[in-house]
């Protein structure tokens, strides 16, 4: 049991691997941004469509929900025959996981735009397209961004798992550490992954406040 005789965390090892920490974090970020952006690109038209044509809502949500329930590791493996052993199946799988939360939040967000605002916009002579892009989508932004935040945080977690079948990201520390039962490396991967998730969430919240200035101002006005 020589493993136990070692210290739980070897700080010297961590300081010696600063370069990998940086590289893996950047990889992790890219591996996260790609499925979230792709998910948003798919969800936005689907969400708008499902919001407008109500009978599409249940089938769309059912399919997105079904995809969401497939265990990630199983989906990664199922996709390998189609894509080969790489990060591609991981990215495809992670994209499908974002759909449920994004579509649902897009539909809810548009639903919650006050009817009288849409009525006033139409009554002033905005076309349907203008009403959608200049009124409904901006006003749905807080709900959409809430969805993007949840999708981003859960994707950051799943990218870590993805390292089992592909190479790259902070999961690399964990899979490498597991092979030689090296706790320092395993913990480093886990802690950095959590840290990245927290920072990404905070960053997106900041972005949301930046692009929806009226929500802050209205709140300040109501309390003063």
């Amino acid at each position: 049991m020589t493993v136990i005789a070692e210290p739980f965390i070897q700080w010297s090892w961590i300081f010696a691997h600063g370069h990998e920490m940086w590289t893996y974090t950047l990889q992790h970020l890219v591996l996260t941004v790609v499925p979230v952006v792709a998910g948003l690109a798919i969800s936005l038209p689907l969400g708008i469509l499902a919001q407008r044509h109500r009978r599409l809502y249940n089938p769309v949500i059912w399919i997105a929900g079904f995809l969401y329930t497939i265990p990630s590791l199983a989906l990664f493996v199922l996709l390998i025959p189609l894509t080969g052993l790489s990060l591609t199946p991981v990215e495809i799988a992670l994209t499908t996981y974002t759909l449920l939360i994004l579509i649902r939040n897009i539909v809810t967000g548009i639903d919650e735009v006050p009817a009288e605002v849409v009525d006033a916009a139409t009554g002033m002579g905005l076309t349907r397209r203008q009403t959608l892009w200049r009124v409904q989508i901006p006003l749905a932004m807080p709900a959409i961004m809430a969805g993007v935040r949840v999708a981003t945080v859960s994707t950051i977690g799943l990218v870590t798992v993805g390292a089992i079948i592909g190479r790259g990201g902070l999961g690399q520390f964990i899979t490498d550490g597991l092979q030689i039962l090296f706790t320092t490396e395993i913990l480093l991967g886990a802690v950095l992954s959590v840290l990245l998730a927290v920072l990404a969430d905070a960053g997106l919240l900041g972005l949301q406040r930046l692009i929806t200035p009226w929500t802050r101002k209205a709140l300040a006005g109501a309390t003063s």
């Binding site: 002579g125 901006p138 929806t212 209205a218």
Partner: protein, 396 residues
């Protein structure tokens, strides 16, 4: 966010509506601006027609109020004019052209629209809200800026509000921004759906006064929907009282509706205090003012007593030239004193030609002399209004 102009037609002139061969301004001849011809609207979800075979003409420059119980179809009627609701049958003309033959989007840009909850765009500043339609029509920045400043002045809005968001404004301020936004491209026609219903009564009265003042200057053709008959009486040039199915029970100026309700429905809808409501609409200048018992300050006691006897009163108005000094009564002159020897009493309240008869009545019932004294703005005596005169005025 991109500019708002890319979908707008080239310089769309919303003022170009004069296709009707009107016959001169200021004369009796009027031009019909909005015309509904046998208009019906059936909603699939209901059994009867929401609007059933409605025909209605609204004259240019008039404020027509559609009033009626909830569910009578007044809002549906209004929303068919800018095609937010498509009529099932019939024709609607605005400025002489058939709305069904126009692009609904362009039609709406040429018609001001104000709704009860105002519907300001919460994510755009007050300035951007007011500029909505000018931007859609592709006005340049400079013209938009100038117009926004013009409108803020017209509606007595603080310039400092322009950079704020609607959520930061009070209810009354939001309503005024809503009206400013509807006026932005100076449309000849405006549709207003209970625009003052969402604010408290004091603010509402102030907004109504301000709006009336603006309307007297701008003379827009306005279709105004409300369920509040008092608001209708106060604002309307002409009131259409609608029953279920938008059946027109009466379409007439407020004074006529109060004087001669066309049906039991109208009487009931107009409600109690019809006489008082009518008096509120008539100004002192509209009725015959009686000269009343009058003497000059220099008059003798005999002259004063003769004036009282002739008028059948026990008091007399005292003037100095044209100016009103007050009144004296029979007993104040006891001991053979002339008018000049007595200090006249001031009238507790007076009216001007612009006052309403309702105000005059209030003064009559409260004053010792049981008349309302009328003076012009320089305290020049005009005459008196008596209770008999008011009663005669209300007689059908």
């Amino acid at each position: 966010m991109p500019g708002w102009s890319e979908f707008a037609g080239a310089d769309y002139d919303v003022g170009a509506h004069d296709g009707l061969g009107r016959t001169g301004r200021g004369g009796e001849a009027v031009t019909v601006m909005i015309s509904l011809r046998d208009v019906s609207k059936h909603f699939p979800s209901s059994s009867g027609n929401a609007v059933n075979d409605l025909s209605l003409d609204i004259n240019e420059g008039e404020l027509a109020v559609l009033v009626g119980p909830s569910g009578c179809g007044k809002t549906t009627t209004m929303r068919m004019i800018n095609r937010l609701i498509e009529p099932s049958s019939g024709e609607i003309f605005v400025g002489g052209s058939d709305v069904m033959k126009q692009d609904p989007v362009m039609l709406r840009r040429g018609i001001g629209y104000v709704i009860q909850s105002v519907g300001l765009l919460p994510h755009r500043t007050i300035e951007q809200n007011i500029a909505t339609v000018p931007q859609l029509l592709g006005w340049d920045e400079q013209r938009i800026g100038a117009r926004v400043r013009e409108l803020t002045a017209l509606l007595d809005l603080d310039d400092e509000l322009l950079r704020r968001y609607p959520g930061e404004l009070s209810g009354g301020q939001r309503q005024r921004v809503g009206v400013a936004r509807a006026l932005a491209v100076d449309p000849p026609v405006m549709l207003m759906d209970e625009p003052f219903a969402a604010v408290d009564p004091i603010i509402r009265a102030r907004l109504q006064d301000q709006f009336l003042d603006i309307q007297r200057r701008l003379r827009k053709t306005i279709v105004f929907v409300t369920h509040d008959i008092d608001e209708a009486i106060k604002l309307a040039d002409r009131i259409a009282i609608l029953n279920i199915g938008a059946k027109v029970e009466q379409y007439a100026p407020p004074e006529e509706i109060l004087r001669a309700p066309a049906s039991d429905f109208v009487s009931r809808f107009v409600g109690a205090e019809r006489g008082l409501k009518r008096l509120a609409l008539i100004s002192v200048a509209d009725v015959e003012i009686e000269p009343g018992p009058v003497v000059q300050r220099t008059a003798s006691q005999d002259e004063a007593r003769r004036a009282m006897r002739e008028a059948g009163t026990e008091w007399v108005v005292v003037l100095e030239g044209e100016k009103l000094l007050g009144w004296i009564d029979w007993w104040m002159m006891e001991g053979g004193r002339d008018v000049a020897a007595v200090e006249p009493r001031e009238f507790a309240a007076i009216v001007t030609p612009g006052s309403s008869l309702r105000t005059a009545l209030d003064i009559i019932v409260q004053s010792r002399t049981h008349v309302a004294v009328v003076v012009d703005n320089d305290n020049g005596y005009q005459g008196i209004v008596t209770l008999d005169r008011l009663t005669a005025e209300l007689r059908p």
